[in-house]
């Protein structure tokens, strides 16, 4: 088999308030805004870390697929509110400094930096839509 030429381009995370999510990823995490499509609550915003143009997070409205039923849409909204729907793992060389800066922004802290039993050291926050943002230390 020949080697495939694939990279991970973008992964979606749902938002409920696009401006609040944009403020978190751009102003708190320092991501650059690469595209911003749509209006109102129906906005697809592509963000990512400076210096890594090939990898992005797509902040997207949840349940925009018209094939999703009202019941399913309600369930997704409930799961987002209770914090069991979207999550992502980021990594940094400076976990302590990153934690302090994100915490100082007023973001909801889920976990201060600790050693995990599987060998990582990480911390965790909520983004404004209730997604869990884990940040682990590169080492």
């Amino acid at each position: 088999m020949t080697t495939m030429d694939l990279s991970i381009c973008a992964t979606p995370l749902p938002h409920t308030d696009p401006e609040a999510s944009l403020a978190f990823y751009r102003d708190v995490l320092g991501f650059e805004v690469r595209r911003d499509v749509g209006s109102g609550k129906m906005r697809w915003i592509t963000v990512g870390p400076p210096g890594q143009p090939g990898t992005s997070i797509l902040l997207a409205p949840p349940a925009a697929d018209p094939g999703i039923t009202d019941d399913e849409r309600r369930t997704i909204a409930e799961m987002m509110a209770k914090g069991t729907f979207g999550w992502i793992m980021l990594a940094t060389n400076d976990l302590g400094g990153t934690f302090e800066r994100v915490q100082a922004s007023g973001a909801e802290v889920v976990q201060e930096p600790i050693e995990q039993y599987w060998g990582d050291r990480d911390c965790a926050f909520r983004d404004p839509a209730g997604n869990l943002v884990r940040i682990q230390e590169l080492r």
Binding site: M42, P61, R73, E78, A81, G83, E108, Q111, Y117, R126
Partner: protein, 159 residues
């Protein structure tokens, strides 16, 4: 297609639905606080004060949303962390009990035994044997996290 999307976005949310989601977000903050502050002397009354609810109301609503009471979630979180500390092996069972926020060794030990299938002391001794060179399949069994899992009625076979 774009017309459909705009319709969905424009669909007004009833005040009751908005209130329901707001309540769920409060419960999320309670659960996150347990994850964050499990080592503090937290109890359900303190959690309820933070969420502007009565303790009874919080317990019922939390269980409806997450399938277990806030007290159960807190104790499971503490015991997960206790397992990690006991595996390190440099602290006594009493020290670990206090380090994860439990003030009662009796409550800690009995809940630990319910969830893990052996006492904290037995777990610590076994984890040290594993560290001393027991095969990795058994090490994996010993170090498996406890969340959403009660111990089987009969304890797993000891090495």
């Amino acid at each position: 297609m774009v017309g459909d999307l705009v319709d969905i976005a424009a669909k007004p949310q009833s005040p009751a639905a908005a209130q329901h989601l707001e309540k769920l977000a409060w419960l999320r903050r309670v659960r996150d606080r347990i994850d964050r502050d499990y080592a503090q002397p937290l109890d359900v009354e303190a959690l309820a004060r933070g969420a502007h609810m009565s303790a009874g109301h919080l317990s019922r609503q939390f269980k409806l949303a997450y399938g277990e009471s806030p007290y159960s979630y807190l104790m499971t979180r503490r015991i997960e962390r206790a397992m990690a500390l006991l595996r390190r092996g440099d602290q006594s069972v009493t020290e670990v009990c206090l380090a994860v926020g439990c003030s009662s060794l009796g409550t800690f030990s009995s809940r630990f035994t319910e969830l893990v299938g052996m006492s904290p002391g037995a777990y610590r001794r076994r984890a040290r044997r594993v560290a001393a060179g027991v095969p990795s399949c058994i090490a994996k069994q010993v170090s498996r996290p406890v969340r959403n899992r009660e111990a089987p009625a009969s304890p797993p076979l000891l090495p």
